[in-house]
């Protein structure tokens, strides 16, 4: 029972962080039909930015979160015109163009990070690192709890923005029907830029927490591509609320398979579930995706 509760908590907490990566990723797909291969590289760059900020300016990495959001928002805004060019126009496969383009970006970022910052494994620690809260028989790691709270908070704020503001409505409208939204006066291109920039900002910010929890190196982003794909597939592509369910599910599968079966089957279980879920319910387990 003790182990069961602990496993539940472990899974839910890591799921919280994955949700943030998934929300932006899912929206990118919904609004612009971009499957961003470089999602892991945003995480990696976020983590490295935090590392260098701490290295040269000191202080706790957590206080740089807003700054990193701003930086990555700007970076996303600047890169967006290129991505827009890649996925639009009279080309054979817009989705493939975006995928290949972001694959190029991902290779570029990985190679750049490796060339510039070397192969060493870096770590940052925050005032929460290694702390934990005891709750009955279970232990809640403070940093993971903070990550979870951060994830849920970001997602809720983001949903309020999406469902409660005029801009949010136009984003959702664009996701549902690009042409009609454009006809009704939505500046589709600007909405796209906004979504992509927000996604880059959110993912970069998550990178700080991920970097503090795990370790920082050029290839650290690879597994977040897997997680992001998993989350949007189960959530239904482009359906933001589903991301919460799918993210938690991902965390729970990881921890329960790891504890009760064997860690070596976790990835297999994830891919199997992803594949089967696409065959059985391509619009996501909640059947609300695009």
């Amino acid at each position: 029972m003790e182990l069961f509760l602990q496993t539940l908590i472990d899974g839910a907490l890591i799921g919280g962080l994955i949700i943030v990566v998934g929300v932006g990723f899912s929206l990118c797909f919904g609004v612009m039909h971009i499957v961003d291969f470089a999602v892991g590289e945003w995480v990696m760059l976020g983590a490295y930015t935090a590392y260098w900020l701490v290295r040269y300016l000191g202080q706790d990495p957590m206080i740089y979160l807003p700054l990193i959001f701003a930086l990555f928002f700007a970076a996303g805004w600047l890169i967006y015109p290129l991505i827009y060019r890649a996925v639009s126009g009279r080309r054979h496969h817009p989705a493939l163009m975006g995928l290949v383009f972001t694959f190029g970006l991902s290779t570029l970022a990985k190679g750049g990070a490796l060339s510039a910052w070397g192969y060493h494994v870096r770590s940052v620690s925050t005032w929460l690192s290694g702390q934990s809260v005891s709750l009955g028989v279970t232990t809640l790691p403070a940093l993971r709890l903070a990550g979870f709270v951060f994830g849920v908070l970001t997602t809720v704020l983001f949903m309020i923005f999406l469902y409660g503001t005029r801009l949010g409505v136009s984003i959702r409208a664009t996701a549902q029907d690009r042409e009609t939204a454009a006809l009704l006066g939505v500046d589709v291109r600007r909405v796209g830029a906004l979504v992509y920039a927000t996604y880059a900002g959110l993912t970069g910010m998550t990178g700080v927490l991920i970097g503090a929890l795990f370790s920082i190196h050029a290839a650290m982003g690879a597994k977040y591509v897997i997680f992001a794909f998993f989350v949007v597939v189960l959530a239904g592509m482009g359906y933001v609320p589903g991301v919460i369910v799918a993210g938690l599910l991902l965390g729970l599968i990881q921890s329960f398979v790891g504890v009760y079966i064997s860690g070596r089957y976790t990835l297999f279980a994830l891919f199997l579930l992803m594949y089967v879920s696409l065959l059985v319910a391509p619009r996501g387990i909640l059947r609300r995706g695009l």
């Binding site: 039909h33 089957y265 297999f268």
Partner: protein, 334 residues
């Protein structure tokens, strides 16, 4: 700068140089092992292997319009089937290759039937998930050696592997030419790519055609995987089932030109030769990753038709000797 339509050559006029070129190319490929050092034979074998893989992917990705992101699975399956066949079951190499190809095609047909109902990014992600799943299976199983990898008996005859790869890859191109460029099957695939519902309405059995195309595009990677395993004598889930195998196939076809006959060949030559050249010159640096990444981005942005698009494009006639000469004469006076 645009060329008048009248300048586009008639088939009769251009057939002779093309035939000569083809004959020269064939002779060069056949005689290559006698002229260059073994290092370059190895590089050439790699290039041919990738040319075959890229064209195989092109069958489903380019001609049919279904972007399979798990095609490396068939390559890895072939490698492991040949490996297990030769080491555990004591098969000869040739038997291993045939079984590898057949099993890869059978697996493709089996998963293609449900998976090919998905479209676009959904199909891409589903095949990707399937490919990664297979890698996990190979890591977990005992018979594959798991993470320890698998050693095959060593037969280190470079020209042998060169010719086997050349033969298989040539077969891929021949099959593509006969089945996809010169038969009704190819038109059906094209119809599916351009408008699947319309194709179905005019009586194309889309399900059967798609499954056939998928199986065909998986058969050759299976065979090539078997060759690769015996050639390298050591295989590992990450080296034959890793995502990079699929990624490279896609990138090569894409750079060469999607859905074109020559695109995969040009793409494979370009990617493999340039990346090996970079590796030769900057052997100790990791900058080659940056260059490859940047090159992919530039191609997407500025030449979406790939090399074939470039060579056939608006400015391509300028590459012709006569037109180039005229262009030069118009601008330079002396």
């Amino acid at each position: 700068m645009t060329t008048p339509a009248a300048e586009v050559q008639s088939p009769a006029r251009s057939a002779a140089p093309r035939l000569t070129l083809g004959a020269l190319l064939a002779a060069a490929l056949l005689l290559l092992p006698f002229t260059v050092s073994s290092f370059w034979i190895r590089i050439a074998t790699e290039v041919l292997l990738w040319a075959g893989l890229a064209q195989s992917w092109n069958i489903i990705g380019g001609y049919t319009g279904y972007l399979s992101f798990g095609h490396g699975a068939f390559f890895g399956l072939g490698a492991y089937v040949t490996g297990i066949g030769m080491t555990v079951l004591g098969w000869p190499f040739a038997a291993g290759l045939v079984v590898s190809g057949v099993l890869a095609a059978a697996l493709a047909a089996a998963i293609g039937y449900p998976t090919l109902r998905l479209r676009g990014a959904y199909f891409a992600i589903a095949t990707w998930a399937f490919g990664e799943m297979l890698r996990q299976v190979a890591t977990v199983l005992e018979v594959t050696g798991g993470a320890f990898g698998m050693r095959l008996p060593a037969f280190l005859n470079l020209p042998f592997f060169y010719y086997v790869t050349l033969g298989t890859s040539a077969l891929v191109y021949l099959t593509t030419y006969l089945l996809l460029e010169r038969s009704p099957f190819g038109y059906k695939l094209l119809a599916i790519r351009e408008h699947e519902e319309a194709a179905e309405m005019v009586g194309v059995n889309t399900v059967a055609v798609k499954v056939n195309a998928f199986a065909l595009s998986a058969f050759f990677p299976g065979v090539l995987g078997g060759i690769y395993a015996y050639w390298l004598t050591y295989i590992h889930p990450d080296s034959v089932l890793g995502g990079i195998i699929t990624d490279l196939m896609v990138v090569m076809v894409f750079l060469g030109g999607m859905g074109t006959f020559w695109g995969p060949l040009l793409g494979a030559f370009l990617v493999q030769l340039v990346s090996r050249s970079l590796w030769l010159v900057w052997g100790e640096s990791t900058l080659y990753l940056v260059i490859i990444g940047a090159a992919i981005c530039v191609v997407v942005l500025f030449m979406p038709g790939g090399i074939v698009g470039l060579l056939e494009g608006r400015r391509a006639p300028l590459l012709a000797p006569r037109a180039a000469w005229r262009w030069w004469r118009e601008r330079v006076r002396w």
